[in-house]
């Protein structure tokens, strides 16, 4: 049961950005924001540096212990190569250190936290994503997938998303409320507040939302009087 990326009900306008909606058994929609190639590549780069530094330090120390040390170093290298990501993802709420820095996390694509099987799958199949050189297959796969999944993510059913920070409490300006010149129905109110929100965070997205609002006939109501009961006057 893969959650479809655009299971959008009639009440909310179609999302034009990359947000990914998952309906939970409790009947609410979780909104996830899949991360694209660049932040993920940076996160991987950070992890690579950390692993390189760790290995260098380990070899320097364990070389003092002769052959026993070299055996131990080989085993640790094996752990770092194949299990570093798995251990961090499962035990640290889907975040390897690189992902932590970049504000990302891995989850199952139904929104639940990642488990051992899925994490092992996606990290073993990383070997194929890296082929033939420099993550070529992985990059092609994630560029053409609506939720930016590389091959390992598709097989494991996982998703790399941004961690959402807690929204800051709204600060309303101290001003006298004005009555709008005309009554807006629910969809119009939503479009307006979505537009204002988007304009605050991302001007480009605001333009797109505005186009969706003005081009989509469903969101511009034919008769405003129909919705009088839900349309309370809004305070601008």
């Amino acid at each position: 049961m893969p959650p479809t990326p655009s299971s959008v009900s009639a009440t909310s306008p179609t999302l034009l950005d990359t947000r990914f909606k998952v309906e939970t058994p409790e009947g609410i929609d979780l909104i996830l924001r899949p991360a694209g190639v660049i932040p993920r590549a940076l996160a991987f780069g950070i992890d690579l540096l950390i692993r390189g530094a760790l290995l260098g330090a380990l070899y320097a120390v364990l070389a003092l212990f002769g052959q026993f040390g070299m055996g131990l170093a080989t085993i640790l290298m094996f752990l770092l190569t194949w299990w570093y990501m798995v251990l961090f993802e499962v035990l640290n709420q889907g975040r390897s250190p690189g992902k932590q820095v970049m504000g990302l996390r891995v989850i199952h694509d139904d929104g639940t936290p990642i488990g051992w099987a899925a994490s092992l799958t996606r990290n073993l199949l990383r070997f194929v994503d890296m082929l033939p050189f420099g993550y070529t297959l992985g990059i092609i796969s994630s560029l053409r997938h609506p939720a930016f999944k590389r091959l390992g993510d598709i097989a494991a059913g996982t998703l790399v998303v941004y961690r959402d920070e807690a929204p800051s409490a709204a600060v309303l300006p101290e001003a006298e409320a004005l009555r709008a010149p005309f009554t807006m129905n629910l969809n119009e109110q939503r479009a307006r507040s979505a537009l204002l929100n988007a304009a605050k965070t991302c001007p480009a997205r605001a333009v797109w939302n505005w186009r969706a609002f003005s081009l989509n006939p469903c969101t511009s109501p034919p008769n405003r009087l129909n919705n009088r009961s839900t349309a309370s006057p809004v305070a601008f």
Binding site: Q67, T74, L120
Partner: protein, 326 residues
């Protein structure tokens, strides 16, 4: 209901829920507190749905959504005792899985052991054929390794006990890496798994045939028979897991390819879990038992045969009973 009234009524609930979440996320929640968590989570979801349908401002909805998201992450956490699960898997789950996937296991075994035996027989009867798959330097190195005059046998003939530990690490790194690659490259429409199975089969077969033919048979066979039981079976099983991935891509049946791949990967990754355990055992045997020169060749043959029987019996018989540990 006006939004301000709604907020006023439920503000305390939300703050309480946020505190519970904080405790859970830091892993410091006590069991008394968490008893009310499920109810509080459902309550919050209801508030969120209400707020959305009533068209309250996005500040409130975002805040509730954030809480619901965090609650969801905690509520659906996978919290299973990994130790007990692992034990149940080794005692019963893994052999059951191998039997359930017998088609892929059979195909991989035929490919791997078939190419191994065929190449071994060919090289034994046509000695020059070994140079078709290996360079002369490599052949000389192999001959040196299994020279009957060497004191200790194995990858480095002049080994002492410190080497055993080093080789243990080397075998883990090398063999498990190969198994993982054999599995993962199944994603390349099976070509990768086929390549690794046949490549390893041909190489091992060529070495075995060549060494037997030049009369180093006893050192070679007594060395490999012990750990070979676990190691060769594990490589074949890793190939089976890879072939399963490949089959899901080539013949997805009624599923979309991505979905078929996901279903196949869920069971083949469990196979790989078992393969990892097998290879750890093999590395241990190879480093500490196979390289020992104290035991005579005959003892090694007997122990090796017993190990092969053990592996076969484990894969065929373990976990069949009704009361098998789960």
């Amino acid at each position: 209901m006006k939004q301000s009234l709604f907020e006023q009524q439920h503000q305390a609930d939300w703050q309480g829920f946020a505190l519970q979440l904080d405790a859970l996320e830091r892993g410091k929640a006590d069991s008394q507190q968490t008893q009310t968590f499920a109810a509080a989570y459902r309550h919050l979801c209801q508030h969120l749905a209400l707020a959305q349908s009533r068209g309250y401002s996005s500040h409130l909805i975002e805040r509730l959504q954030h809480l619901a998201m965090r609650g969801h992450q905690q509520f659906y956490r996978h919290r299973s005792p990994i130790g007990g699960q692992l034990l149940g898997f080794i005692l019963a789950g893994f052999p059951r899985l191998v039997r359930a996937e017998w088609r892929f296991v059979l195909a991989a075994c035929l490919l791997f052991f078939g190419s191994l035996l065929l190449m071994g027989a060919l090289v034994y009867h046509f000695p020059d054929l070994v140079y078709a798959v290996m360079s002369p330097d490599r052949v000389a190195e192999m001959e040196h390794m299994y020279d009957p005059d060497a004191r200790r046998i194995g990858r480095f003939s002049e080994r002492d006990s410190g080497d055993d530990w080093m080789m243990f690490g080397y075998y883990i790194m090398n063999n498990i890496g190969i198994a993982f690659q054999t599995f993962a490259s199944g994603l390349l429409f099976g070509l990768g798994s086929l390549f690794f199975l046949l490549f390893n089969g041909l190489m091992i077969g060529a070495v075995a045939g060549h060494l037997t033919q030049i009369g180093y048979g006893e050192t070679f066979w007594s060395f490999v028979i012990g750990h070979g039981s676990f190691e060769l079976t594990a490589i074949a099983l890793a190939g089976a897991a890879g072939l399963k991935l490949d089959w899901a891509l080539l013949v997805p049946g009624r599923w979309p390819r991505s979905e078929a791949l996901r279903i196949a990967a869920a069971s083949s990754v469990r196979l790989i879990g078992g393969v990892t355990v097998f290879l750890l055992l093999a590395a241990f045997i190879e480093a500490y038992w196979s390289s020992m020169t104290l035991a005579s060749a005959n003892v090694k043959y007997i122990v090796g045969a017993a190990l092969w029987l053990l592996v076969l019996a484990y894969l065929l018989l373990a976990g069949r009973g009704d009361h098998a540990p789960d």
